[in-house]
């Protein structure tokens, strides 16, 4: 009996480790290729560790295209969206979780339904709208929507706010506090973990966004890192070592943020998936 158990355990570990390798290997391959000479990268059978370790791929990749600028642009868009998402989604979620007004259930249901709507349906008229407003090739189409809250964020925050005991705000209400005070002094401090989750997802969303910048930006100086990377690929498609260096640079900030906020990521995923 014990023996059978040990065999089972080994089998389980083996599958999990193969799975983990499948997840990590592409990232390892990215980084190793980014440190190789163009000679070494084409060697067959492939070498696992770059010799020599070529750091200059990075400087070369980052200077042939103005990546510093793409970083600044992306950072600006990301931060603007982050602030907008935090404020608008949390204020709205407060209303859906804590306030009573006619039609709130219906509007919340519509909000949830809007998550099922394929982006392609709204993209074309939205694009035409921004064009009529004369705002193509600006950051407004990429930033402003975040300031109207996202259905996903509102849903997640509402779920979280609903778990905060009502006695707290009722007591404050009796003491004469208004809703703004209650929201700001009670709900916000108590929901820091959920707000961090929203912040992280918003960061990822803007940093990783490709279709938005692709559709709305047409001047190279305004490009984001995702667009910059794609442009780099079309210019240097055969230079795999440089392309891998550029990709590594685009991925690094996301990986750093992920490792800092990992616990919250997992919580956020769990929260959205389960408490529907």
């Amino acid at each position: 009996m014990k023996r059978k158990n040990a065999a089972g355990q080994i089998a389980v570990y083996t599958i999990l480790i193969i799975g983990a390798c499948f997840c990590l290997l592409p990232l390892f391959w990215l980084v190793r290729s980014s440190f190789m000479t163009s000679m070494q990268i084409f060697e067959m059978p492939p070498v696992w560790i770059p010799v020599p370790f070529k750091l200059s791929n990075y400087t070369e990749a980052l200077t042939t295209v103005d990546f510093a600028r793409f970083f600044r642009n992306t950072a600006f868009i990301t931060v603007s969206c982050l602030i907008g998402a935090l404020i608008s989604s949390s204020v709205s979620a407060y209303s859906y979780a804590r306030l009573q007004w006619p039609g709130r259930r219906l509007i919340f249901a519509l909000l949830l339904a809007s998550m099922m709507l394929p982006g392609a349906v709204t993209l074309i008229p939205t694009f035409i709208g921004w064009k009529l407003a004369g705002l193509i090739n600006t950051y407004y189409p990429l930033i402003l929507p975040a300031w109207f809250g996202s259905a996903f964020d509102i849903f997640l925050l509402r779920q979280f706010y609903s778990t905060i005991p009502r006695d707290l705000d009722e007591a404050a209400y009796v003491d004469g506090a208004g809703h703004l005070t209650i929201y700001w002094k009670i709900i916000v401090p108590l929901s820091k973990p959920a707000l961090i989750v929203i912040g992280l997802f918003s960061f990822m969303g803007s940093w990783n966004d490709f279709m938005g910048p692709l559709v709305y930006l047409n001047e190279e100086s305004k490009y984001t890192v995702a667009l910059g990377l794609q442009m780099f690929q079309s210019l240097h498609s055969a230079q795999w070592n440089l392309l891998m260096a550029a990709s590594t640079v685009v991925i690094t900030p996301v990986i750093i943020v992920f490792f800092i906020g990992q616990r919250y990521f997992i919580e956020g995923i769990t929260l959205t998936g389960l408490k529907g």
Binding site: I124, F210, L214
Partner: protein, 295 residues
């Protein structure tokens, strides 16, 4: 009076989301619907043409429509069941009591999810490269025939499915959280009754997990219908339109050919397809999804 005041405060707080719903969902939906009945290329003013855009799609005047539908369905049919089965399996294994380093595994499985789609596409083009890629080197080392991956009509969709499995991490985490919520007492009672591992899996785990399987099925299908970045960066719909994913087809019509009216009609058909499919899922779910609260 107080009630009225309360209502105003409530609406004021929800205002960003209400405006957002109107400006970025309701209004665009309505205009997209109207546009789909017009001839509107970016150069002319919209002209009403009735069902013109739709008939052009269905009677085959636009040869790409059926092609991209077929491509997208092929992808969805492969991707959704394989993705669900694999993430469920990984979650089950991770949920075993004896597993050490659970949080490390969880982190590793989630890691690919955060990689920007553009960068992920770059990595995978490189891995898929027929002469120099890692995948074919593996096959060669094992003395197996190499594969053309993205470069052949037969293998391009399975290749993109394979690549997409790299990102099952968030589904794994949702399944894992669900598994942790299954009451242990059920398993203990079943053990006392002499049920074996497979019996417990079939009689307890699966029924208790059906709501989560259902959730992941819906979200996975909606996501799978909307592949875009990979199609644009890795294959541009090729070879010979074998990876002309529906969303890429819409993008190409709208933003490369400037056919806004036609593209709106194509987008609406996608919306209707997704509605029908989720509708079918919801209808059939009554017979297989088990909700605790209904007992």
């Amino acid at each position: 009076m107080i009630g009225k005041h309360r209502a105003i405060v409530g609406i004021l707080f929800a205002l960003p989301s209400i405006l957002g719903l109107l400006l970025f969902t309701a209004l665009p939906m309505l205009s997209s619907f109207v546009l789909s009945f017009t001839d509107y290329r970016t150069v002319n003013t919209p002209k009403f043409i009735g069902f013109g855009n739709y008939t052009r799609l269905f009677d085959g005047t636009d040869p790409y429509f059926y092609k991209s539908l077929w491509v997208t369905f092929k992808y969805v049919i492969l991707r959704v069941p394989i993705g669900l089965a694999m993430s469920f399996l990984v979650a089950l294994l991770l949920n075993q009591d004896f597993i050490k380093g659970k949080s490390i595994f969880r982190t590793i499985f989630y890691l690919p999810v955060i990689v920007p789609a553009v960068a992920a596409s770059m990595i995978w083009i490189w891995l898929f490269s027929p002469d120099l890629g890692l995948l074919n080197s593996f096959l060669e080392a094992l003395h197996l025939p190499t594969i053309l991956w993205l470069d052949s009509e037969a293998t391009v969709i399975p290749s993109i499915v394979f690549m997409s499995l790299w990102g099952i991490g968030s589904t794994v985490i949702i399944f894992l959280a669900g598994l942790q919520g299954v009451p242990r007492s059920l398993y203990e009672a079943a053990t006392v009754d002499g049920a074996g591992v497979f019996r417990k899996f079939r009689a307890i785990t699966i029924p208790m997990m059906t709501p989560i399987i259902f959730f992941n099925l819906i979200m996975g299908s909606i996501g799978a219908f909307q592949v875009f970045t990979e199609a644009l960066i890795m294959t541009q719909g090729g070879p010979n339109n074998a990876s002309l994913f529906y969303n890429y087809y819409i993008y190409r019509e709208a933003f490369q050919f400037g056919e806004m009216g036609h593209a709106s009609a194509i987008a609406w058909i996608l919306f209707i397809i997704i509605l029908i499919i989720t509708g079918i899922f919801f209808k059939t779910s009554k017979s297989w999804v088990f909700y605790e609260s209904e007992v």
